[in-house]
């Protein structure tokens, strides 16, 4: 049972990491164009400047 003493915090930390990643993605606007993002993955080269 002592394993729980560190397993539970690790589980919570990893979950929290996922939550933080989501919040970052949301803030940086990655959810603003869900349909467009699907097509962008297929682009070979970035649009030239």
């Amino acid at each position: 049972m002592t394993a729980l003493a560190w397993l539970v915090p690790v589980a919570l930390f990893l979950g929290g990491l996922g939550l933080a990643a989501f919040m970052w993605a949301l803030r940086s606007g990655q959810f603003e164009d869900l349909e467009g993002a699907a097509y962008r993955a297929l682009e070979d080269d970035p649009p030239e400047q």
């Binding site: 539970v8 919570l12 949301l26 603003e32 467009g36 682009e43 649009p47």
Partner: protein
């Protein structure tokens, strides 16, 4: 979107945008952007303009954000570059881009936190439940319950805000809304669970409270997404509709001004082929204008100095100078705006399905909860036990079917319609259109394409038709376009004739070796005719003159759609501002027996009012400025994308394309959506009928509450996804 609006995932872009503070950002609504390829063409076109640092297209929102150097380029250059690439664009107006998404993000952040908490608490709870059946020692179970409390309390405080705020607002106004029982269930369950945890009891509901919160937030988020999407589509339409106007300055120079920035007394130059940007009076020039958007009349009208022209009128033949008249004077537009405002106020009272259900549901839930609490107290249970059972009732009756399933169904329906090029503009439009039992059409531009067609084409010889077509190709006049279209049916490509001279208001001519060739009015061709303005003559010096007549062509599937609607039990009617004879002809062709001609906007509203008082729920389909008040007054309304901007603003749905089929599609989809929402209510009702007595009797443990709630939510959501089709857009 802020200054770094073009969302760049590439480091060098981000650096460019942020280091050069002189860049300005601009968001444009873009038409015709439907695929990944288009998205890239739009970005390429924008980046091709000198001075543009970055461009990022948003396919979902149909917009492009551009960062540019104001010293080197500007809005007009960008719009022109996009138009050349085949994507008409317009700057977003009236909204600060990004403001509309703020609430959506607010909800999404809270949903994410609730989801994280719900998963972790559930994980811990599963251990506790299974431990209760085996050998988990009490200390560990208590520790786990405290851990749950630690996660749940901040989550409830943060993620519960939208519900608490709304419930407080309702209570302050002495009303009950759906958020009152939701807030009560969540707060009571959390407080009670905390109390039980302190006491070391097993009746701990943290998992149920937080997963309830999570599921409800998902529903709330979907609802908001639909609303934002509807309003952003509406904003795009509005921005694309209001064009630019050429203002003549006092010193005679010309300046391009967005139509919404025009002021009273501005003098405008309206070139042939342009739309008049504002209501005004003609100062100089004489020519023909197409008023079909405003009056429903297909035939062009001749205007001269001193006469009024209305915004949305198409100038056909000759440049006109007009002076802008105030919208609050006695113009047609002002009259129409007033009628619309009055009509919209009448409709603001529509209550959505979920709200109506909540009105019945909330008191019932409160009653049951209270009855459980009092009942258990009466038969001698402790107040803790009585309260625990009452909370179980509140959780079991969680209005997930209302709060999650209805938004899920509606967003699936809206996406389905969007792929069929029907834009849902009003969030509650789907519910209202599903209730309609009568469809009223406008004529010009709705049943018809608002485009003239040459009559008796087969009787005209190919030589004459193609000859006239080659001459007509030099003009933008609707008659000329109709002749060219007819000629194109005979020959693959109509080669425009060279050296054609156009005399505005009269016709076209050119000199050939055999003599002169003329196309235009009877007077122009030197023939005597007692016909009206709606005919065109074609004369070659060496042949007898030929007369062309025109009519507005009916949409190809209009008759079929009318028949389908009649078969489905809809009553049909045609309301038009046009003359009786023309209206009868179209009505006969389409197969509509109720027809009313020569109506003014107020008359149309009066008819709609009369039908409404008979208990009919009318779907109005119209496009003209004269239809706008009727669109606002009807129970539900649709406009084609070619409609006047004020009509598109008033309509609940806007459809693209040349067919009328979207009317049937929209009604069918909305009805399916309503049927599914009702199915979901039924599913929820069955759950409640089975589980509420159990909960009241005290048989529901936290475990059962959690399982029942989640399965019912998953079931209703899964049902909703049946509506979405998997095809490409």
């Amino acid at each position: 979107m802020t200054v770094h609006a073009p969302i760049t995932f590439r480091a060098q872009d981000a650096a460019q945008v942020t280091t050069e503070a002189s860049f300005k950002s601009l968001t444009l609504a873009v038409e015709n952007m439907h695929c990944g390829g288009c998205m890239r063409s739009v970005e390429r076109a924008a980046l091709g303009v000198a001075g543009v640092a970055s461009a990022r297209a948003n396919l979902s929102a149909q917009r492009v954000s551009v960062a540019y150097d104001p010293a080197r380029t500007g809005e007009p250059a960008l719009i022109e570059a996009l138009a050349r690439a085949g994507f008409p664009a317009a700057p977003m107006q009236w909204v600060k881009p990004g403001a509309e998404q703020a609430r959506q993000k607010y909800l999404l952040r809270r949903t994410a936190v609730a989801g994280f908490a719900a998963m972790n608490i559930m994980l811990i709870s599963v251990a506790v439940w299974s431990g209760a059946a085996s050998d988990m020692d009490l200390a560990l179970a208590t520790a786990f319950r405290w851990l749950s409390a630690l996660i749940a309390l901040p989550t409830v405080a943060y993620s519960g805000q939208p519900f608490f705020d709304s419930a407080l607002g309702a209570l302050k106004a002495r009303r009950l809304n759906m958020d009152v029982p939701i807030s009560l269930a969540i707060l009571l369950a959390t407080a009670m669970s905390l109390y039980q945890t302190i006491r070391g009891s097993e009746q701990v509901y943290f998992d149920a409270a937080v997963s309830l919160l999570f599921l409800l937030l998902v529903g709330r988020f979907l609802d908001e997404t639909l609303r934002v999407r509807a309003s952003s589509e509406a904003q795009n339409l509005l921005s694309l509709q209001s064009g630019m106007a050429t203002v003549i300055e006092a010193n005679g120079s010309h300046r391009l001004v967005p139509a919404h920035a025009l002021r009273l007394g501005d003098r405008l130059l309206v070139a042939a082929g342009e739309r008049v940007a504002a209501d005004g009076v003609v100062l100089k020039g004489r020519g023909q204008v197409d008023q079909s958007l405003i009056t429903g009349e297909t035939m062009p009208l001749t205007v001269a100095a001193g006469q009024e022209v209305y915004a949305g009128t198409l100038n056909l033949t000759q440049p006109l100078n007009i002076e802008v008249l105030a919208a609050d004077s006695a113009t047609l537009l002002a009259e129409i705006s007033r009628l619309m405002l009055a009509a919209e106020q009448g409709k603001a009272h529509y209550r959505r399905l979920a709200d109506r259900a909540a009105q019945v549901y909330a008191p019932a839930v409160h009653g049951l909860g209270l009855a459980t609490f009092l009942g258990w107290l009466a038969i001698g249970a402790s107040w803790q036990t009585a309260l625990t059972y009452a909370i179980a009732v509140l959780i079991i009756t969680c209005p997930c079917a209302l709060a999650l399933a209805v938004p899920a169904v509606q967003i699936a329906a809206a996406s389905r319609l969007f792929r069929r090029r029907i834009i849902v503009k009003a969030a509650d439009g789907l519910e209202r259109i599903a209730e309609t039992d009568m469809v009223v059409f406008d004529k010009t531009g709705t049943l018809t394409l608002g485009r003239l067609e040459l009559l008796g084409q087969d009787a005209i010889s190919g030589d004459v038709l193609i000859g006239a077509g080659r001459l007509a190709a030099a003009s933008k006049h609707p008659y000329a376009k109709a002749i060219v279209a007819a000629a194109e049916k005979r020959t693959r490509a109509v080669v425009p004739a060279s050296d054609v001279e156009e005399v505005p208001g009269l016709g076209l001519k050119r000199q050939l070796a055999q003599g002169e060739e003329r196309l235009g009015s009877a007077e122009w061709c030197g023939v005597h005719s007692d016909g009206d303005d709606s005919e065109v003559w074609y004369r070659r010096d060496w042949m007898t003159p030929v007369r062309f007549r025109f009519a507005d062509s009916v949409r190809t599937d209009a008759a079929e759609i009318a028949a389908t609607l009649k078969r489905q039990g809809f009553e049909l009617a045609l309301l038009s501002g046009d003359r009786q004879g023309v209206v009868d002809k179209v009505a006969d062709e389409v197969g509509i027996s109720t027809r009313l001609a020569g109506l003014r906007p107020a008359d149309k509203i009066a008819w709609l009012g009369a039908w409404a008082s008979e208990g009919r729920k009318v779907l109005m389909v119209g496009d003209g400025l004269n239809d706008a008040p009727a669109l606002a007054a009807a129970h539900a309304s649709m406009s084609p994308a070619s409609a006047a901007d004020i009509s598109q603003r008033a309509a609940d749905f806007v459809f693209q394309g040349e067919k009328l089929a979207p009317v049937v599609e929209a009604i069918a989809t909305a009805r399916r959506a309503r049927a599914m929402a009702l199915q979901n209510f039924a599913v929820a009702a069955i759950y409640n009928v089975v589980c509420v007595p159990l909960a009241m009797a005290g048989f529901v443990t936290p475990l059962i509450a959690a399982i029942v709630m989640s399965t019912s939510s998953i079931l209703v959501t899964a049902n909703a996804t049946r509506l979405a089709d998997r095809g490409s857009r």
